[in-house]
């Protein structure tokens, strides 16, 4: 029995490698995927080689805010706006819950009389709101805005998408209330009771449908790489979530593998593709130059799909799970270097040749820093999956630091950048107070740096101590406390930054028409 599972392990790996080789072969055969032409397909005449950032004083384009695309943007305008507002709301509430959980970890008697705010519930509401509320809804807004642009055709069925957003939002609010009141399915990342999860599945399908319909009406030959990721993610998430929430399917350790298959895929096949795709569209657009290598980006896409989908069990290293399965996920975690490097060469390659744009555009700073954190958090994640490192970092706050480097440093920063780019195009007017963008940027960058640095160091020490039979739990607990306090400081700065962001968003919405610059 032992050997047959080892064979399976090898088989899975060989299949992935063969698929990868086939990809490389297909790409070298020439213009199979469109190459340079596809990379240029996101630009209109005269858009290359000029900075396009309405929030930047350096943006020299006498900005008509995309007159060419105005017709296309228009169909989805109100849907996108609603999604962005919902995402902003969840960002604020979600961060407040994060901050509350953080303080409670070092002040365990603070507000302890309120059952609905106990750490175990507040932390879970935090995770669900930032993941399913902020990251997911912001991503959907970007999808609804970018897809019609890359396919050069108006969004189909915008009302259906709006309904989808509504159903999703109400479902999530109901889910958060359920958790607060003590009704939870009890599985990490899947706490929302399945009776309520149905709403999330239906909601996302209501968004996916119009997107796919728009794609099938495309009026360009090429499918730009961002659309690859967006379309696949919109297929993956409903499937994953639906399967993972089927009640009574699994229990015991089988359920644990299902749990982490889902939980890593929700990162790897849902929010990560969303973040990468957003950067793939916005970095070249802002700089006005195509990505480094289009074919490489396609290789990156398929290798991400192959490898990321199999890494989930690295969350159970050293656990009551068959050895071959753990090893399988570790191997694929290391293979993740392939897609991560492909994306890095493409995005950073373009960026490094155009550092002038980084200096001139805060929007780009958000997005590129986010892309950089993708590379960093993924390299870190691959190493963290190795047995020698995981034995230290597993079960500790190091994991939480990594989680925020990824979910915050990478995806959240990119989404914030996307807000700064999209809104002026939606309204045909510039941001009222560019200074606030700067303030927002520095608050969150300093905040997340404190957060990640202190928790990584503290978590590492905690992990070393947990392995040492001579260290008492008292010592471990006393030693971790100051690092948790620093995290609260970092988190406070981040949350403050989000309020600056939200305030600016509000005055942008309320700005009287007379102030508009450029036309619709």
């Amino acid at each position: 029995m032992h050997t047959s599972f080892s064979l399976l392990l090898i088989l899975s790996f060989v299949v992935s490698l063969v698929a990868l080789a086939a990809m490389v072969w297909a790409i070298t055969r020439g213009h199979f995927f469109g190459g340079k032409k596809a990379a240029l397909s996101i630009f209109e005449e005269g858009e290359t080689d000029v900075l396009d950032d309405p929030a930047s004083v350096y943006s020299t384009r006498t900005h008509q805010f995309d007159a060419v695309r105005a017709g296309i943007d228009k169909s989805g305008r109100s849907v996108v706006l609603v999604f962005l507002s919902v995402a902003m709301f969840f960002l604020l509430v979600g961060s407040l819950y994060g901050l509350l959980s953080s303080f409670k970890l070092h002040l365990p008697d603070w507000l302890s009389q309120y059952e609905f705010l106990t750490f175990g519930r507040a932390r879970t509401v935090h995770l669900n709101l930032v993941n399913y509320g902020w990251l997911s809804v912001a991503s959907l807004a970007v999808v609804l805005w970018v897809i019609p642009r890359v396919f050069r055709t108006p969004l189909r069925r915008p009302r259906m998408a709006l309904w989808g957003g509504l159903i999703w939002t109400l479902g999530l609010i109901a889910g958060a209330l359920a958790i607060s009141l003590g009704w939870s399915d009890g599985v990490e990342w899947l706490e929302i009771p399945w009776q309520i999860s149905v709403f999330l599945v239906v909601g996302v399908l209501f968004v996916a449908w119009p997107v796919i319909e728009t794609a099938t009406h495309r009026e360009v030959e090429h499918v730009y790489v961002s659309a690859w990721y967006f379309l696949a993610a919109l297929l993956w998430f409903p499937l994953l979530y639906f399967i993972a929430k089927i009640p009574g399917l699994h229990f015991g350790v089988e359920q644990a593998t299902l749990n982490w298959w889902f939980a890593h895929n929700v990162l790897g096949l849902w929010v990560t593709p969303m973040g990468i795709a957003t950067a793939y569209y916005l970095i070249p657009k802002i700089i006005g130059k195509p990505i480094f290598s289009y074919n490489l980006s396609v290789l990156g896409f398929w290798s991400l799909a192959l490898f990321y989908s199999q890494v989930g069990i690295h969350h159970l290293v050293g656990g009551p799970i068959p050895t071959w399965l753990v090893t399988l996920s570790i191997v694929h975690s290391i293979m993740m270097f392939v897609p991560v490097i492909a994306v890095a060469i493409n995005q950073h390659g373009l960026m490094l040749k155009n550092m002038w744009a980084f200096k001139q555009s805060y929007t780009l700073r958000f997005i590129w820093l986010g892309a950089l954190m993708y590379t960093l958090s993924s390299f870190q994640g691959s190493l963290e999956a190795l047995r020698s490192i995981n034995t230290i970092t597993h079960f500790t706050h190091f994991t939480v630091a990594h989680a925020h480097l990824g979910a915050y440093g990478f995806i959240s920063l990119i989404m914030m950048g996307a807000f700064y780019y999209i809104l002026p195009h939606l309204f045909g007017r510039a941001w009222p107070k560019p200074g606030l963008i700067k303030l927002h940027f520095w608050l969150v960058v300093v905040g997340i740096t404190i957060y990640v640095v202190f928790l990584s160091v503290g978590g590492w020490l905690q992990g070393v101590e947990l392995l040492n039979p001579a260290t008492s739990f008292e010592t471990i607990t006393r030693n971790i406390k100051p690092y948790l306090e620093w995290r609260s400081l970092g988190g406070s700065l981040m949350t403050l930054g989000h309020f600056v962001f939200a305030y600016h968003f509000l005055i942008m919405l309320k700005q009287p028409k007379a102030h508009t610059r450029g036309g619709e």
Binding site: G182, S184, F251, P320, T323, T391
Partner: protein, 221 residues
């Protein structure tokens, strides 16, 4: 190939492949495990207590999966127990393995800390027991009474934690939770074939033997 639909099909196939590897095949491997014969199903009260554990979110700080001796002797010396195997979890619906150790592992807390009174005091105010503890207090699982009834369980507290003029009495949810905690005991010995179903990636030959010995010893205790 340059078509949205082809992308979607390719994406779906890859996910199906990964699901086979990560969920379906392991599912067959550990499905229908016999229990070891030592482990008993939870009682109704323990199951209610398990729901309290779930809805208060204890899992976010406590794991329930001691590590093998080969990975570290620390879990054993702290009294957290031998490395667990899939058969230890056959009654766990949902599973509660956990991924954090902000607090200690709890898979064998019933063996390590069997006292009901200790747990009630600890849940009401962890700092009444360990001045350094960072665990939240759960006062809402208790009620304050001036005159406890005859069958009320009064929580023992050091004087500085006693509310003036009142006694602290455990609510049913606290009693259920403690019953669940007391039931957590997987100190019985395991056979090699069960051991093979867990991750042995940290166990060299030598360590396996050592841990086997320790396991057997703790199994007798």
């Amino acid at each position: 190939m340059n078509r949205p639909v082809a992308i979607l099909i390719g994406a779906a196939l890859i996910l199906a492949f990964a699901t086979m590897a990560l969920v379906v095949i392991p599912g067959f491997q550990v499905h229908n495990l016999e229990t070891t014969g030592y482990l008993e199903d939870y009682t109704q009260q323990e199951l209610r207590g398990r729901q309290v554990y779930i809805n208060q979110g204890c899992i976010y700080c406590h794991s329930q999966q001691p590590r093998s001796f080969g990975q570290t002797p620390a879990d054993m010396t702290k009294g957290w127990g031998r490395a667990s195997t899939p058969a230890d979890y056959v009654y766990d619906k949902p599973h509660l393995l956990g991924t954090m150790r902000t607090g200690p592992d709890l898979l064998n807390v019933g063996a390590r800390l069997p006292s009901q009174a200790w747990h009630l005091t600890h849940l009401f105010q962890p700092r009444a027991i360990f001045e350094w503890s960072l665990m939240p207090a759960y006062p809402f699982l208790f009620e304050l009474k001036q005159q406890p009834a005859a069958d009320d369980l009064v929580v023992k507290l050091p004087s500085q934690f006693k509310p003036a003029g009142h006694q602290v009495v455990a609510k049913q949810s606290a009693l259920d939770l403690v019953a669940y905690l007391q039931s957590l005991d997987r100190t019985y010995p395991v056979a090699d074939k069960e051991h093979y179903l867990r991750d042995q990636g940290f166990d060299g030959q030598l360590e396996t033997e050592q841990s086997q010995e320790v396991k057997n010893e703790s199994g007798e205790g």
